[in-house]
């Protein structure tokens, strides 16, 4: 019996995904668990695995199509069964099944109207709908790595002309330097990577529409560092705990008591998530990804640590799976490795809060009226004021502090 494969929903707020590449061709056999296609969501490119075995009988969407979540993308069946497209996907399905042959890329992108945020330009045939540019402008932009979306056209109907591209390419002449001994480096223009563009869009939207407030606390990291040192002294090199493992676990346990901070705002409702999935921000070469420690409150520290290690490694290799990056309900962003005291982070929608962690610092502290050498760590919570308030967030920080400063509780 043929089954319809739909565009999966890979996150709370995913409305549509772009099918980047069919890994399995039409009429190619696929085993359950094998990668069927690559899909680009707002956050990353992910591989979608087939949920069952069979033969990919029909690709319902062409590569590079933007498809709403839940819309049919393929028909899986046996090699010889008859496929009644209309019965399977109805007349409301794709107007033009790709069964016969894939159409030209231009036609494919044209099949899905692009929204105002649909801005990834990729070569000639994949310009967003509505963008007008002359062939020479397109060629120059392509050759010089300039995103045509960043330009406004001066031609008829806003058409981007060669002169517009040239104007954008001309860097302002460098001002004469007093230190003329060394010539200034040439100004470079680097096209936004997809990841960079996505981060920019999401962060702008978050900062513009979410009323952030910030609470900073200075924590005693001494016990945590001591416990970690103790544990790691008995652990093999490839299983060492990171400071972050403890911080993620602490955050997850603290969130159990504050469901408002493990939440999303949807319209007039606050969605308090059943699972506590901690997103961990991972710095990449060209941006940052948030990988997810699922049900971090439920897992022993060692399991949590091992899982995070694997997911982070996959993220750095660019091989993330949907489950690796989707579904986080709260994020921990740790820049402690960079010797900085504290920072404030932008909330990663649709989450309600994010914790920014600074470095562990050795400094004089007063204990029982005596100055001694202590280890301190400053954390800053950014929270969405539409969902929670200062007092609640401060109470969360108190609980968080108790876990971090008494880390043995993380082990029991």
């Amino acid at each position: 019996m043929a089954t319809v494969i739909n565009m999966p929903k890979l996150g709370f707020d995913m409305a549509e995904g772009r099918l980047i590449r069919w890994v399995k061709a039409q009429d190619e056999a696929v085993q359950k668990g094998e990668v069927l296609a690559e899909i680009e969501t707002d956050k990353a490119t992910v591989e979608v695995e087939s949920q069952e075995s069979g033969v990919v009988r029909v690709h319902l969407v062409a590569e590079n199509s933007l498809v709403p979540v839940g819309s049919p993308i393929a028909i899986l069946g046996t090699a010889d069964e008859a496929i009644d497209l209309e019965a399977l996907v109805g007349k409301s399905g794709p107007a033009r099944p790709a069964a016969a042959k894939p159409a030209a890329p231009q036609a494919q992108t044209a099949a899905v109207p692009a929204g105002p945020h649909e801005t990834e330009a990729e070569g000639d045939g994949n310009l967003p709908a509505g963008l007008r540019a002359t062939p020479v402008a397109r060629r120059l932009a392509r050759e010089r790595g300039l995103d045509l979306n960043s330009l406004s056209g001066s031609g008829p109907q806003g058409r981007i002309l060669k002169s517009d591209v040239e104007a954008a390419l001309i860097a302002p002449a460098p001002a004469p330097s007093l230190q003329a001994a060394r010539p200034a480096a040439a100004t470079e223009r680097v096209q936004l990577s997809k990841l960079r563009a996505i981060i920019g869009r999401r962060m702008t939207a978050s900062k513009q529409s979410l009323p952030h407030f910030y609470l900073t606390a200075d924590l005693d990291a001494g016990p945590l560092m001591a416990l970690r040192g103790d544990l790691n002294s008995r652990m093999p090199q490839d299983q060492q705990f990171s400071v972050n493992d403890f911080l993620v676990k602490s955050a997850a346990l603290a969130l159990r008591e504050f469901p408002n901070l493990n939440a999303s705002l949807e319209g007039e409702e606050i969605v308090r998530h059943g699972q506590i999935n901690i997103g961990v921000a991972v710095a990449m070469d060209d941006g940052l990804l948030t990988v997810v420690a699922r049900e971090a409150d439920q897992k022993p520290l060692r399991t949590l640590s091992a899982e995070l290690r694997q997911v982070v490694a996959r993220a750095r290799e660019g091989r993330v799976r949907p489950a690796d990056i989707e579904g986080s309900t709260f994020t921990v962003s740790n820049l402690g490795m960079f010797q900085l005291d504290q920072f404030t982070a932008i909330i990663n929608p649709p989450e309600a809060a994010i914790l920014a962690v600074g470095s562990v610092r050795q400094e004089p502290v007063v204990v029982d009226g005596q100055i001694t050498i202590g280890q301190r760590m400053r954390v800053t919570l950014s929270a969405d004021h539409r969902v929670t308030d200062g007092a609640e967030a401060a109470r969360w920080l108190q609980v968080y502090r108790s876990y971090v400063e008494h880390p043995v509780h993380l082990l029991v």
Binding site: T134, P135, V136, A137, R138, R139, G155, L161, K162, S163
Partner: protein, 323 residues
């Protein structure tokens, strides 16, 4: 360098080639005793005699047919058609015989004939005597179609046409005979099938030939006063069509206007525009514009005739449109 008229340039070319090669003969209506309808062969009959300068009946198929035969037999005939409109009467002789005999007989003979024909409107000669059907003839492989726009090119190209082994339709514009230009004192030839930049510029490539070259040069002067520098590429021959200088220019300017006196549909502009799109698509920065004759039989009324023909102002506005 001497400054002479187009008429003198063509006449000099014929004279020099007849002096140089006794196989060169002239035949046509009133070319002998009368000296030619456009006075191109004035004095030839007395100098070269009735054997080499032959008046024919008013029968274009005979003029071209006899010239074809003479060419196949070893002479270098130059046939004159009073107007290119009458070439329709010799269509079979031009496109089926001259253009194809060498091909169809496996190269056993060539047809080194030159057919001079007067083309173009603007002299109130009515719809049937004022056409500019150059593109029709350029359609046929086997026939070279040459249409100079300056005395210099007219002289050099006609001499090359007479010396060449292939049939050439040599198109002279009716209103250019009085047009003056510099011509070298020493002998020279201009290669057939080589386009030429007649005015350098950087903003728009204007492709023209024959009479429209002169219109374009005037338009260039007007536009230069506004700071617009057009580059004019003169095709000079419609077949073979040399797109090299056109493409080279277009790749710098990214904009093109093509000017022809014939009708726009299926015309020279259509061909050149298509070649640009095919070979330099990635250099396009504006739609290619064609300036051509209004799609009507050319009116007799002087005002209407001038309105129907492409004028300097039309070129100026087309250039502004693509900028």
């Amino acid at each position: 360098m001497a400054v002479i008229t187009m008429r003198e340039a063509i006449s000099q070319a014929l004279w020099e080639e007849m002096e140089r090669d006794e196989r060169v003969i002239i035949l046509g209506e009133e070319v002998g005793v009368w000296g030619g309808t456009y006075a191109v062969t004035k004095g030839f009959y007395d100098h070269f005699g009735p054997e080499r300068v032959r008046d024919t009946p008013i029968a274009e198929s005979v003029i071209v047919g006899a010239a074809n035969g003479a060419a196949m037999a070893g002479l270098r005939p130059v046939a004159e058609l009073m107007t290119i409109n009458f070439a329709f009467l010799a269509m079979d002789q031009i496109v089926n015989h001259a253009a194809k005999l060498r091909y169809m007989f496996g190269g056993q003979m060539s047809v080194p004939v030159v057919i001079r024909a007067v083309s173009g409107g603007g002299r109130q000669l009515g719809a049937t005597h004022s056409q500019t059907p150059d593109a029709i003839f350029a359609h046929f492989p086997g026939l070279k179609v040459v249409a100079p726009g300056t005395p210099h090119d007219a002289k050099g190209l006609l001499k090359a046409a007479i010396r060449g082994e292939d049939p050439v339709l040599f198109i002279e514009h009716a209103t250019l005979y009085q047009f003056r230009g510099e011509v070298p004192d020493q002998e020279y030839l201009e290669p057939i099938g080589v386009s030429k930049v007649q005015r350098p510029g950087s903003d728009v490539t204007v492709v023209a030939y024959s009479k429209t070259l002169q219109h374009s040069l005037q338009a260039a002067e007007q536009l230069a006063q506004e700071g617009i520098q057009i580059e004019i590429v003169d095709l000079r021959s419609l077949r073979p069509l040399d797109m090299g200088p056109v493409l080279e220019s277009f790749k710098r300017t990214n904009r093109a206007v093509i000017v022809e006196e014939g009708w726009r549909s299926y015309g020279v502009g259509a061909e050149v525009a298509a070649r640009i799109a095919e070979e330099a698509f990635d250099y396009l920065d504006a739609p290619i514009r064609r300036v051509a004759q209004a799609e009507v039989p050319l009116p007799y009324n002087q005002a209407l005739e001038q309105m129907a023909l492409p004028q300097v102002d039309d070129i100026v506005s087309a250039v502004r449109e693509v900028l």
